[in-house]
Amino acid sequence: MAEDIKVIVFKLGTEEYGIEVEKVQTIERMMPITRVPKTYSFIKGVINLRGVVIPVIDLRGRFGIEEAEHTDQTRVIIVNVNAMEVGFIVDSANDVIDLNRDIIDTPPDVVGGIKAKYLDGVAKIGDDRLLIMLNLAEVLNKGEIVQLEGLEG
């Protein structure tokens, strides 16, 4: 019997994603971002989070989804993975749910156009809700991006 985990649920477009709550430091409303030149286009810049400078990533850009205008619902989720503090810009984030690890399935090859390596698994919650669990370490892995850009270039 696997234990329950708490998961922060957020949205990108119509998809719902989940991040384990202990990896999330805080969720902030959109705030002024200082652009950092000479970095990847999906790195929107840095913010001042209570005196700490934190880089902010547009998750849509990171996953190669078309970027969207920021709205009242737009949130910055500050995560802390491997002692790296990073903010994710997401369309909205307003739910915390309990999830049993048993119902997380291994990810299918491709879900919603996102490379499977970014995913930890997919959980079916309710009748027609699919929750995509993110593999944060991979999302923040820059080595892989270099390779990607190299291929594109």
Binding site: P32, T34, V36, P37, K38, R50, G51, V53, E85
Partner: protein, 694 residues
């Protein structure tokens, strides 16, 4: 339970105890009769042992235990402190230090301390060799006078020797001195043993074979040897080996053996009784020229050295990360304060304005305190120097007084962490090359003992650390001459150089390895590294020297690394900070003054052409491009001798900024060295001018 929590406490406290042990030992060395210091040392060692045992660091605990045994005899007046005991105890401290270091680095604190433990045990047993090489000479000078021998036999060895004599073998007492310039003395010693083993048997040697193999002996050793050959024959055989200075082989008969045996057994039995060798030791220590004394002129910082328990510390340890969090929270508060002040001036309410003003004053005071929390007295770096100078002087056969002033001067923790190595270098330089040998000093009419002053003091926004000695000084002409010889400068340049410029040559990289310089004044070994390190801290180092009288290295350091003065500039909607330390000047140029050379934009600046770098292009700034403007503001920045002009839109002004890094996810961004938070809460990036100068 989280052992790590205790571990860091253990490491901190062990380091404290080791430091106080080192200091007390130095004090005791200057004042060997003062048993109250021994008490202090004993207590520290005892605490350390207990801590180590609790944490499961057995090697550490057992070494301190052996030290305690020695100290216990001393404090109960059963053993007199002398050079060999000091050396062994200092060696033990070094071993303890490296063990704690190992633990700090995540190791298990295990170390091979067998030799030291053996030496400590030997001291407790009363087996004390007279001061090393000197002893060998003494015995060598009086061959046959075997009562002086320091090799004590136990009963078993004694009976072996006695029996051999009865069976008609020769028993020899052999004393070997290896030449002082011998490079691999352990190998020579091995060859002697090898030779002897071929025609007989070595029963007992001092130092032990193990110590000899590890080069843990001075240039002589003694042994008991059973053979069929004559003493003179053995003597000749050993002398045939190269690099052997002197050999004395004395044949023992029943009578002399019994005499020595009785002495040995007596000495072993009542260990603390002063053996003959011990009486010789104080003389040896008097003869030894190295006698560094540590003095502390600053009354406040002077620790109570003579007796009594140290006053209980009124400080607590705080993790530096917590201080960082405090700093961050505080800068939040500052931003809100600025916002409140704005609102208050809009609202025009007297009470509100008054409250906000009061809050401004309080937060100003708070800011001072928060900044001060990161400040550490420079003493934490200085405290290891007395011991270092002692060892250095001893190994160089010089007499050196180290006088420390201003050890309570405070510097930011980050600077403190970095400044140790350059200071070590400069101090070594001062003792090694600055202070002359005793003979030279006497010849120059100076006191035998050289003085090295280590001073720290505040001045304005800087801290100065000075290292001044009364040694040989630097002769600018000789520096220039060798610089010309090395091809570093031309003869014409040399002719026009001032003394100060000549001294600066010592910091040039090319000079670092030049023997020429070492011959002249001994300066220049790695000074370029010292200079580079200090520059990287935003500091500066200068030399003043009076030839024949001494040299002063003056190191200027910023109070803190986390706050710098910077020029804020605007490019379109974006703001950037440029460190003031690398800005040469600012100005305005007309489009017509910009030339294109080989496709690169260049600008005439003080008679030469320097590149003009478009920040807006490099940083792809969305809403500004200087090429559309008739006049462009430029900031000329410098890296070493090279200059570059950066084109910007507006100067906002000069500001003190708190440097923050961009976080682990963005460790390196080209052209950006960090970020800072402006008064309005916005983040501004700090430009790294070095990135634009290739």
């Amino acid at each position: 339970m989280d052992m790590n929590q205790y571990l860091s406490m253990f490491i901190d406290e062990s380091n404290d105890h080791l430091q106080s042990l080192n200091e007390s030992m130095m004090g005791l060395e200057a004042n060997p009769e003062d048993l109250s210091i021994v008490q202090v040392i004993f207590r520290s060692a005892h605490t350390l042992k207990g801590m180590a045992a609790t944490m499961g660091f057995e090697d550490l605990a057992s070494l301190t235990h052996q030290m305690e045994n020695v100290l216990d005899l001393v404090r109960n007046n059963k053993l007199r402190m002398q050079d060999f005991i000091f050396d062994t105890l200092f060696k033990s401290l070094d071993a303890l230090e490296s063990m704690v270091e190992n633990i700090t680095g995540g190791g298990d604190g295990k170390a091979d301390v067998f030799a030291i433990v053996a030496a400590l045990q030997a001291i407790v047993r009363g087996e004390i060799p007279a001061a090393g090489g000197a002893a060998a000479e003494v015995t060598a000078a009086k061959p046959g006078n075997t009562t002086d021998a320091q090799v004590y036999l136990d009963e078993f060895q004694y009976s072996v020797l006695e029996q051999s004599l009865q069976e008609g073998h020769q028993v020899l007492y052999v004393d070997v001195a290896i030449r002082k310039d011998c490079q691999l003395k352990a190998v020579r010693a091995y060859m002697v043993f090898d030779l002897l083993e071929r025609s007989g048997e070595v029963v007992k040697s001092f130092p032990s074979v193990q110590d000899i193999e590890q080069e843990k002996f001075d240039y002589g050793f003694s042994l008991y040897y059973i053979t069929q050959k004559d003493a003179s024959e053995i003597q000749k055989m050993i002398l045939n080996l190269s690099e052997i200075d002197q050999v004395t082989a004395v044949a023992l008969d029943q009578e002399s053996l019994r005499q020595m045996g009785q002495e040995s057994i007596a000495a072993t039995a009542e260990a603390p009784a002063p053996a003959p060798a011990q009486e010789a030791a104080p003389q040896a220590s008097n003869a030894s020229p190295a006698a560094p004394v540590q003095k502390e002129e600053n009354g406040k910082a002077a620790p109570a050295r003579t007796g009594g328990a140290p006053t209980p510390s009124r400080t607590i340890r705080v993790d530096i990360e917590r201080l960082d969090v405090l700093m961050n929270l505080f800068s939040e508060l500052l931003i809100d304060r600025v916002r409140l002040e704005q609102l208050a001036s809009e609202v025009q309410n007297g009470d509100l304005t008054e409250t906000v003003e009061h809050m401004g004053r309080v937060s100003g005071d708070l800011q001072n305190i928060v900044m001060k929390l990161r400040m550490v007295p420079v003493d934490t770096v200085f405290n290891r120097f007395p011991r270092m100078i002692r060892d250095l002087a001893k190994s160089l056969d010089k007499k050196v007084d180290l006088i420390i002033t201003g050890a309570d001067t405070e510097l930011d923790r980050t600077v403190i962490d970095e400044i140790g190595d350059p200071l070590v270098h400069l101090l070594r330089n001062a003792v090694d090359h600055g202070i002359e040998s005793i003979a030279d000093r006497v010849a120059a009419g100076k006191p035998e003992t050289g003085t090295v002053h280590l001073r720290a003091f505040h001045s304005g926004n800087h801290v100065f650390i000075e290292i001044e000695e009364d040694g040989v000084g630097i002769y600018p002409k000789k520096v220039l001459k060798s610089a010309v010889k090395k091809g570093a400068i031309t003869q014409e340049q040399a002719n026009s150089m001032s003394d100060d410029e000549a001294y600066q040559l010592l910091f040039a990289p090319g000079f670092s390895t030049a023997e020429v310089i070492s011959d002249v004044s001994g300066r220049g070994v790695g000074l370029d590294v010292v200079k580079a390190k200090i520059s990287s801290l935003g500091g500066n180092v200068t030399i003043y020297s009076t030839p024949g009288k001494g040299t002063n290295f003056s190191v200027q350091l910023p109070l803190t690394l986390s706050i710098i003065a910077a020029m804020l500039v605007r490019l379109g909607s974006e703001k950037y900070a440029i460190p003031l330390s690398s800005i040469v000047e600012t100005g305005i140029v007309k489009q017509s003054q910009i030339r294109t050379i080989h496709g690169n934009k260049m600008l005439e600046f003080r008679g030469s052409h320097i590149p003009l770098v478009s920040l807006s292009k490099i940083f792809s700034i969305p809403d500004y491009d200087e090429s559309t403007e008739e006049e462009t503001e430029i900031v000329v920045v410098r890296k070493g001798e090279r200059l570059v002009a950066l084109a910007v839109q507006d100067f906002i002004g000069q500001n003190e900024i708190v440097i923050k890094n961009l976080g682990k996810y963005l460790p390196e961004v080209q052209g950006i060295s960090g970020a800072t938070i402006l008064g309005d809460g916005q983040v501004a990036l700090i430009i790294d001018p070095n990135a634009f100068i290739k």
